[in-house]
């Protein structure tokens, strides 16, 4: 348990609960995330869910297989949490990132951020998702309705080049 600066044991427990970030192979429960960050001193709460998409140009995506460099992803997620808590010390944060097979419309990431005022709640939520996108060593393989699979490269750069 991290050091607590807020006083009573009960508040320590809440503070510990409020900063939980992790990778999971279980479905994400928005209600559980919201419950983790709920606190009387917080007047604004943001919940972000990233879900597996099958848009008109996505080619019939039925699911995405998420894989990760587990140890580094957990460490990076914790670094992102620590940065957010340092920048917004009054905020409360809960993050879950799915690994394994995630079906279309299911959430692959859930972020709940609560703060005394809405500006900070929005800012924390935005900060965390952007840093996750930029830094988390997680990869996704799309499973298509026609049986094909495709590694996703969000930057659109060629992922493979020819031999030297």
């Amino acid at each position: 348990m991290r050091r607590c600066r807020t006083g009573t044991k009960w508040r320590c427990y809440l503070r510990w609960r409020a900063d939980s970030v992790s990778l999971t192979r279980e479905p994400i429960s928005p209600a559980a995330l919201l419950a983790e960050v709920a606190a009387p001193e917080c007047g604004g709460t943001c919940l972000f869910l990233g879900t597996v998409r099958d848009g008109p140009e996505d080619g019939g995506v039925t699911a995405i297989e998420y894989s990760a460099y587990d140890a580094m992803a957990a460490a990076e997620l914790d670094r992102i949490r620590a940065e957010a808590m340092k920048r917004w010390p009054q905020a409360r944060l809960a993050v879950r990132h799915r690994l394994g097979l995630v079906a279309t419309e299911e959430a692959s990431i859930g972020i709940a951020a609560a703060a005394p005022h809405r500006d900070d709640a929005f800012a924390v939520c935005r900060y965390v998702i952007e840093e996750v996108k930029r830094r988390l060593p997680v990869w996704k393989k799309e499973l298509r309705a026609d049986g094909t699979t495709l590694w996703v490269d969000p930057q659109g750069r060629p992922a493979v080049v020819g031999p030297e």
Binding site: R134, R135, V138, W139, P154, V160, V161, P163
Partner: protein, 80 residues
Amino acid sequence: MVRVRFFARYAELVGREEMELELPLPATVADVVRQARRELPAARALPEHLLAAVNLQHVRLDAAVQDGDEVALLPPLAGG
């Protein structure tokens, strides 16, 4: 000795998830990648410029590598 790990598409390309390399130290991540290409022909299919991590931290290709380090070669990230 340095442990090299391959993930996702890169693991498929080189046909394995890790290898151990002996190379003169001090060395950089770029040296490790060059050595991997020499010892593992399939690794030549990896991009010239790639993301890398040493001991669970993102690093540039000119970062130093020490004996016992774990060097990870990371395909374009797609979390979230």
